[in-house]
Amino acid sequence: MIHDVVFYAAALWLTGLVIACAVLVLRARSTPSRILALDTLILILVGLLVLWSDAEGVSFYLDAALILSMLAFISTLAAARFHGEGKVF
């Protein structure tokens, strides 16, 4: 019972954090802080997926969470290197 309450409150709160990170992405002062805010947004989405797999009792969401964290890492690497050095490789 209290587990359900905690889960729904946490999911709502994490959705609020995703919205806050979207605001940060849109209103960032510089490109690196925009990349950082996007990375943080995807990591919070990973946390939401982990919470969701816990609540539903389905472990397949964790695969999606792993792939999403890999995608966040690769995209952050590519975007930051392109911003800093003008090329990715």
């Binding site: 905690v6 990375d39 919070i44 946390g47 890492f73």
Partner: protein, 99 residues
């Protein structure tokens, strides 16, 4: 025993929420990109690791392997991405100083 595990999972979920929220608030409050990296890159990853720990405690041993995999991946990649963002900021600033 089962009730104690569920309570521990709830406490870990609340802890992860608090830590991730502190990371996002840090991005809002800090004045500089370096300070934003300092606030966000550690806190959000630690919050997600708390969620993973709660998932392992609540779901039995089924999800433990994948949860450990995600946690290890995050612990490996979060410092690298923070360093790459800081390096990009530094390189842009240096180019602006030289011009």
């Amino acid at each position: 025993m089962d009730g104690a595990l569920a309570v521990a999972a709830d406490v870990l979920v609340v802890l992860g929420l608090v830590v991730s929220t502190l990371g996002v608030v840090g991005i809002f409050r800090m004045p500089d990109t370096y300070n934003e990296i300092h606030a966000a890159s550690k806190a959000v990853v630690l919050g997600i690791v708390a969620f993973l720990l709660a998932s392992v405690l609540a779901g039995g041993g089924v999800t433990a392997g994948r949860a450990v995999l995600i946690a290890a991946f995050l612990f490996l990649t979060a410092p690298v991405s923070a360093h790459v963002i800081a390096r990009a900021t530094w390189q842009r600033d240096g180019r602006r100083r030289r011009e």
